[in-house]
């Protein structure tokens, strides 16, 4: 591999990593605060991607989709949390996995029922349809915009968690929800808001990824798999872990695409196994 190609693959890997960060940050937030394993995370991503498709078809505007996709998914998550998931918080993780998996299957089947099992295209917004030249290589402007949005989300989340009162409640809640409750804070509402925020972030990822990969009803499985790998590599429940995990996995995938193409996907999981062996709590996870 030439130095120029390696450099491009590193840059490309960082770009993929930022997309993976977006995919996984909602999952890690929900687990970090609520200790809740959400297998429906990929389904929220899927639903938002299809909302993007529908909104673009109806209005012709991707920007409306960017606004409505995460918002509608957040409302959907609120309803699911209030009616179903709230009753499962005291249950073992195995039960939560089963229930959220059922929710995921239900949402996927609804998508098939409404939109058919065939895939659809979501066009890149015209303003971002160009490419940027990096020597002999080009980088899609839209992909760069997605990376920018992911970076912005990372910064905003960091400020919200580290520098605001709500953030301090979230951090306290992740240490001891019972203690936070004793201080007079409505923990149920905090949980509900966190779940909705996590789902909205999955939704944001779904909308942003739709023009890159199109939409099809089985896209959630791959997204959920990647999100869990990123969260496990970075450390469960940490924002910085999701960022580092996402970038690391993106780099592994991109560089291995040149060095050992047939093993690129395998190396993602091999990296996860290696991190678990060396540091079972993940790179930035708390012991």
């Amino acid at each position: 591999m030439s130095a120029q190609l390696l450099l491009f693959q590193v840059l490309n890997g960082v770009g993929i990593g930022m997309i993976y960060f977006l995919l996984s940050v909602g999952l890690t937030l929900i687990f970090g605060l609520m200790r809740f394993v959400n297998f429906a995370h990929g389904a929220f991503y899927l639903v938002a991607a299809y909302i993007a498709y529908a909104v673009v078809i109806w209005t012709g505007s991707f920007w409306w989709a960017l606004l409505l996709g995460p918002a509608i998914v957040a409302v959907l998550a609120l309803v699911i949390e209030r009616l179903l998931l709230r009753h499962t918080y005291s249950l073992p993780h195995e039960a939560q996995i089963l229930i959220t998996f059922a929710v995921a299957l239900f949402l996927q089947e609804m998508v098939i029922l409404i939109f058919t099992p065939l895939g659809h295209n979501v066009p890149v917004p015209p303003a971002l349809s160009g490419v940027l030249f990096l020597g002999p290589y080009v980088y899609p402007a839209y992909r760069l915009a997605v990376v920018g949005v992911a970076a912005l989300v990372a910064i905003m989340l960091w400020i919200a968690i580290e520098r605001t009162k709500m953030g301090s409640i979230l951090r306290a809640g992740s240490e001891s929800a019972e203690m936070v409750g004793l201080l007079g804070i409505n923990v149920d509402r905090v949980f509900m808001a966190t779940f909705a925020l996590g789902a909205a972030l999955a939704g944001l990822a779904g909308v942003l990824v739709a023009p890159l990969r199109g939409v099809e009803p089985f896209m959630s499985a791959e997204a959920l798999g990647i999100a869990f790998v990123v969260v496990v590599v970075g450390g469960l429940g940490t924002l910085s872990g999701a960022l580092v995990g996402g970038i690391l996995i993106g780099l592994v995938q991109s560089i291995m695409s040149t060095l050992w193409p047939e093993g690129a996907q395998l190396m993602i999981y091999a990296s996860m196994a290696l991190v678990i062996l060396i540091r079972p709590t993940g790179l930035l996870g708390r012991i």
Binding site: F8, G13, P117, Y137, G214, P217, M219
Partner: protein, 404 residues
């Protein structure tokens, strides 16, 4: 007054009169033939399996009967798993006595099922792509409608080389499984024969969705043509991402195998424009057989048929044509009837080659057109070339037993 003889005659005739309705009913009743369709309605290829299943089911419905036997469609959902497909076929053949099997969602499933159906002396019509199906793994029970990888490559790569003689550097991106490998090895044969430089290949796994790394590797080789050796959603993703990375500016992109209209729609006109695709069926090719397919699809969906529906339809049609010609549901009789049979299929007059049970039909090289040039929402591509490119029977590697 009745005499003794008349009373005896009446008594003797009574059972016949009483039994008559049963005889009449039996004479009118048709026997029912169960036709099992093996498709994946869940899993990675469910979008493909669903369309194929529709086509097969609708053909059975349209024909209704074959050689006086009522046709009954039985779906076996293999969930995208060859092992599950074999288990379901075993169950259907042993417990329900089904002998007539059609359909597959991918080549790995077809290869597994065709061995099973042959071992149990049934008949199997499938839509697999891998060469082995009518090549070294062929058998007396199995027939295949779509062209093999050899034909797909020779009907797309060759015309493209002829069209762009200066495009000498080709790069391939290949799904690493039976079908992808089969396309790739055929591409390499054509490259060698035509003096094309194969500047590289990237294999990818069946679970990949992110191809930017492979595309960057391809771009580093500055190919004149990027050929994609795969099928299904992964092909769409590679095309979409190759376009987004600007490859269309100085590289021709060819998806050697596509599922036609549904994939063109999934890509959208903005991504189809100037991309070359290989396809087994195109609704714009008007033939008596394609009109029959169009009629039932229009009735069911209000739209034109896509490849998946036509392909699912075709495998049902072949079985029905065989039963009709044999005038029997007996498997050896159907096999004999199908060998060399010529019929009006979805792509025109099609013929079943007796040596390897491959349907001889056109494969299309298509070119995506600009949005402004489209006459309607389905007019996404033009047929550039239609070729019947089959390997000579002695070169397929098929060694078939003389009888079942």
């Amino acid at each position: 007054m009745m005499d003794r003889r008349r009373v005896l005659t009446g008594v003797a005739a009574a059972p016949l009169v009483l039994a008559a309705p049963a005889f009449i009913r039996r004479a009118n009743a048709q026997s029912v033939v169960d036709v099992a369709g093996v498709y994946s309605l869940s899993g990675t290829f469910a979008n493909v399996g669903s369309g194929l299943n529709d086509g097969s089911k609708w053909a059975i419905e349209q024909y209704g009967s074959a050689a006086g036997n009522k046709l009954n469609y039985v779906l076996l959902d293999d969930r995208g798993d060859a092992g599950e497909a074999v288990r379901k076929v075993q169950e259907a053949m042993t417990q329900r006595g089904i002998k007539h099997v059609i359909g597959c969602t991918n080549s790995a499933i077809a290869l597994a099922v065709q061995k099973e159906v042959y071992a149990r002396k049934g008949i199997y019509i499938n839509e697999a792509g891998a060469d082995e199906v009518t090549g070294k793994d062929c058998n007396k029970s199995s027939f295949r409608w779509p062209v093999a990888c050899y034909s797909a490559v020779n009907a797309t790569v060759r015309p493209l080389i002829d069209k762009f003689p200066k495009a000498k550097r080709w790069y391939t991106i290949t799904g690493q499984y039976v079908f992808g490998d089969s396309l790739l090895s055929n591409c390499k044969d054509v490259f060698k024969e035509k003096g094309i430089e194969h500047v590289g290949n990237s294999y990818h796994s069946l679970s990949d969705r992110e191809y930017s790394g492979y595309i960057a590797t391809a771009m580093a080789q500055s190919p004149d043509v990027l050929a994609i050796c795969n099928f299904g959603n992964q092909t769409l993703d590679v095309v979409r991402q190759a376009i987004s990375y600007g490859m269309k500016r100085n590289t021709k992109i060819l998806a050697v195998w596509s599922t036609g209209l549904d994939q063109f729609q999934a890509l959208g006109p903005e991504n189809c424009e100037d991309i070359y695709f290989g396809a087994n069926f195109w609704h714009g090719v008007d033939t008596p057989g394609s009109r029959r397919v169009a009629e039932i699809v229009k009735q069911k969906t209000g739209d034109v048929p896509n490849y998946l529906q036509a392909c699912g339809y075709a495998v049902s049609q072949i079985l029905i044509e065989g039963i009709n010609k044999a005038n029997s549901t007996d498997v050896p009789a159907i096999v004999k009837a199908l060998e060399g049979l010529s019929y009006e299929g979805p792509t025109g007059t099609e013929m079943i080659r007796p040596e390897d049970h491959q349907v001889v039909k056109d494969y299309y090289l298509m070119l995506g057109k600009a949005k402004g040039a489209m006459k309607d929402k389905n007019d996404l591509c033009d047929v550039v070339a239609a070729t019947k490119a089959l390997p000579p029977p002695e070169k397929t590697g098929c060694q078939m037993a003389a009888s079942l």
